[in-house]
């Protein structure tokens, strides 16, 4: 495999992994807020959430392996465990490392869900929001393609959609948590 082919696969798998992560986060938030109710019922949205997490895994494995093979990136095995050590673009690459580690923790917690308390699992599961922010920043700061106007605009648009759905999810859960706040108005 040539250096150029490795570089192409590294870029495409990284972008596709981010797309899978977006689908996972979006569908996860939509489960509570009903933001995707127009598209499918909750079982369908749950199916997207489960599948996108499975799709993300091989893509990120390919992304990491190809970057380890890339002679310019110079990512080593140690960089998968300790962020910001890599000499080339250390901050941008380090964000990707942290994001990867957080999602791996979330996935492990999902597989061990039956052995964890609901609160414990939920607090670990919420790390995926931080993981997405890290992955998005990694894409912007290290990604070759997000500097391209059309792809950059698409990425920001996706982030804006996630922000809106996240806000809806937050307000939906608050309304559900405090039903006593709703007022009962007597009709004369």
């Amino acid at each position: 495999m040539t250096t150029d082919q490795i570089w192409i696969i590294a870029r495409s798998s990284g972008t596709a992994a981010l797309v899978a992560l977006v689908l996972s986060i979006l569908s996860g938030m939509a489960l509570r807020s009903g933001a995707l109710a127009w598209l499918s019922h909750n079982r369908g949205v749950r199916a997207i959430h489960d599948l996108s997490s499975i799709l993300w895994l091989p893509l990120i494995v390919v992304h990491v392996i190809t970057l380890m093979l890339d002679p310019y990136a110079k990512v080593g095995v140690i960089d998968l465990f300790i962020p910001f050590l890599v000499s080339y673009g250390s901050f941008a690459v380090g964000l990707g490392t942290i994001s990867l580690q957080l999602i791996v923790i979330v996935l492990i917690a999902t597989w061990l869900r039956s052995k964890l308390s609901h609160e414990g699992w939920l607090s670990i599961h919420r790390l995926s929001y931080f993981a997405f922010v890290g992955a998005f920043a990694h894409g912007l700061l290290a990604g070759t393609d997000f500097a391209q106007p059309v792809l950059g605009a698409l990425a920001w648009l996706t982030a804006a959609v996630l922000l809106i759905v996240g806000f809806r999810r937050l307000t939906a859960s608050r309304t559900r948590q405090s039903p006593a706040r709703s007022k009962t108005v007597a009709i004369p």
Binding site: D4, W7, I8, I9, R11, S12, S13, T15, A16, V19, A20, L23, S27, A37, W38, L39, S40, H41, R43, G44, V45, A47, I48, L51, S52, L55, L59, Y72, Y88, G89, A92, L140, L141, A142, G143, T144, D145, A147, Q148, I187, P188
Partner: protein, 101 residues
């Protein structure tokens, strides 16, 4: 009294629930997989056509050095030759080989 509301009685009119666009779980799975695979294929084609992006935030140092050859000599306005450290790169093919004993 508000029009349309009967005294001491609240009539709740339920709006008919809109059915979602996709009811099949397999179809929605295929859609999610399709979006991801389309982005993978699209980016592979795009990256193949645009191997280098000059506006990318990270530029490898080696590629930058190759694009801008180092200056070795400069002539000042006084006409005096000034030497600077550096090795200039060449694109011409090597005509000699190193002998390994």
């Amino acid at each position: 009294m508000l029009p349309g509301i009967v005294r001491d009685e609240l009539i709740v009119v339920k709006q008919p629930k809109r059915s979602p666009l996709m009811t099949s779980v397999n179809a929605i799975r295929a859609l999610a997989a399709g979006i991801t695979m389309l982005s993978l294929a699209g980016m592979t084609v795009y990256a193949g056509d645009h191997l280098h992006n000059q506006s990318a935030p990270l530029q490898p140092a080696v590629a930058g050095a190759a694009a801008a050859p180092a200056k070795t000599t400069t002539t000042s306005t006084t006409g005096r030759l000034q030497l600077a450290r550096g090795v200039s790169t060449t694109t011409t093919r090597a005509v000699t080989t190193t002998h390994h004993s």
